[in-house]
Structures are given as C-alpha cells and as structure tokens.
Amino acid sequence: MLHTVNKSPFERTSLDTCLRLAKKGSAILLIEDGVIAAVKGTAESAKIEGAVGNHPIYVLGPDLKARALPEDQVIDGVKVVDYAGFVDLAEEHGAHNAWL
C-alpha cells in the first residue's frame, strides 16, 4: 500500500494517524503541505526520523521547492521524487491510501 499525507504535522494529526495505521513496510509519500514533516531540525522532525526504519519514506520534490524547503534539509533516509516518481510508487506499492 502507498500512503500519502498532505497535511503539515504542525496543523493536523494526519501524519500521526498514518504512522499509527500504516502497516510496517508499506510506503509513505509526503505531498503538498505534508512535505513540512520531511524537514530536519523542526519540532516535528522526530516523527519521520522515527519512521524511516519501519517504512520506505518519500517526499514530493516540486512541493518542497514551491515552499522554499531545500532538498539538503530533508531528513536522512527520505527520498525525493517527482510526479513521475509518484506514479512509479503507486504502481509498485499497490492500493493508495490518502490520509487527508
């Protein structure tokens, strides 16, 4: 299963719920405001830092760039993908579960 989270962890609990209910090993892609969770050195960074061992985690590059969040500030172990990469993840990981 491919999980996507499109909300900032500072605003909503979507990421918490995703991390609680995503089966170990399933993939997580952070998109839209969800990309804020992928950044190092914030009060919310620990959530993704703690999850990289349990899930392959990805972040949508165009959404980082739009928000002036540099790729070199992305948490170690999180891979940056573009829309084509999003399509590949959807193909590879099975059903899509959007945590809104």
């Binding site: 209910l21 089966k23 059903a95």
Partner: protein, 140 residues
C-alpha cells in the same frame, strides 16, 4: 467525452471507506456514507472504518435541530440493514464490516455503548492489516 466502458463483470474488490472527520463541521461524513450505499449495488466487499474524530459520527443521540442541518445519523440504520441482508442472504456475496479503531475511541473517552450501531472494535495494528489488504480506499 464519451463514457469509458469498464469491464466489471465478475469483479469483486474490497473497498475501505475511511471516516476520520467529526459530523456536521464538514460535509465529508455524509458524502462518504452515500458512496458506501452505492457500492452495495455493485455487491462489493466493504470495510466501513471510523478513526480519529470519525468515531463521533457513530455516537447515539445526534440532535441537529438547533443548527438547522439535516441529521444524517439515520443513514447508519440503512447501512446496518444492508450489512444484515448481506450477512443473512446466502445469495449475496458481499462482506461488510463496520470497524472502529480502539485507540481513537478510547482517546475520546468513548466506549462501544456510546454508538448507535453494532460495530467491531479493533486495535490499530489489526486495522492496519485490514486496510492494507483492501483494494481501494475512499474517504473524505
């Protein structure tokens, strides 16, 4: 555009309907339930899941008179009837489960007795497996 013709003959999938929002503050709860009911016409398996503030949708005793909105909780009665029909009628190949995440329920100080329909309480770990095994996830 011309309508695309899907070949759905004999297709049996498991849909998960993910309800995570409290009732009335937004329209999502109501419109997800409409999709649940439509899926019955296609005889598809369904997990009707309530997590986070979605558990408040099931609470008995909604009274919307003073906010002037339609009380949609009677829809759960229809869903329960559809589920009972599917459970009892051998000719209907459709399994419906109404699932509440234990962690979300307890975090809100609720118990099974607070709900207006019969539900299955499952842990987050159990729910993760159930949702992971479904083919389509629809929510709001």
């Amino acid at each position: 555009m011309a309508e695309y013709e899907f070949d759905t003959e004999g297709v049996k999938k498991t849909f998960t309907f993910m309800n995570r929002k409290a009732p009335y503050g937004t329209v999502y709860a109501l419109e997800v339930l409409e999709t649940v009911l439509i899926s019955a016409a296609f005889e598809q398996h369904a997990n009707i899941v309530f997590v986070d503030d979605g558990v408040y949708q099931l609470k008995a005793g909604h009274d919307t008179a003073d906010i002037g909105m339609k009380n949609f909780s009677p829809t759960f009665g229809i869903i329960e009837m559809e589920k009972e029909d599917a459970d009892e009628d051998e000719d209907i190949d459709m399994v419906w489960r109404i699932l509440v995440e234990k962690e979300s329920m307890e975090a809100r100080g609720l118990s099974e007795d607070d709900f207006k329909v019969d539900i299955e309480v499952v842990t987050a770990a159990e729910l993760a497996d159930i949702v992971d095994a479904s083919d389509c996830v629809i929510g709001g």
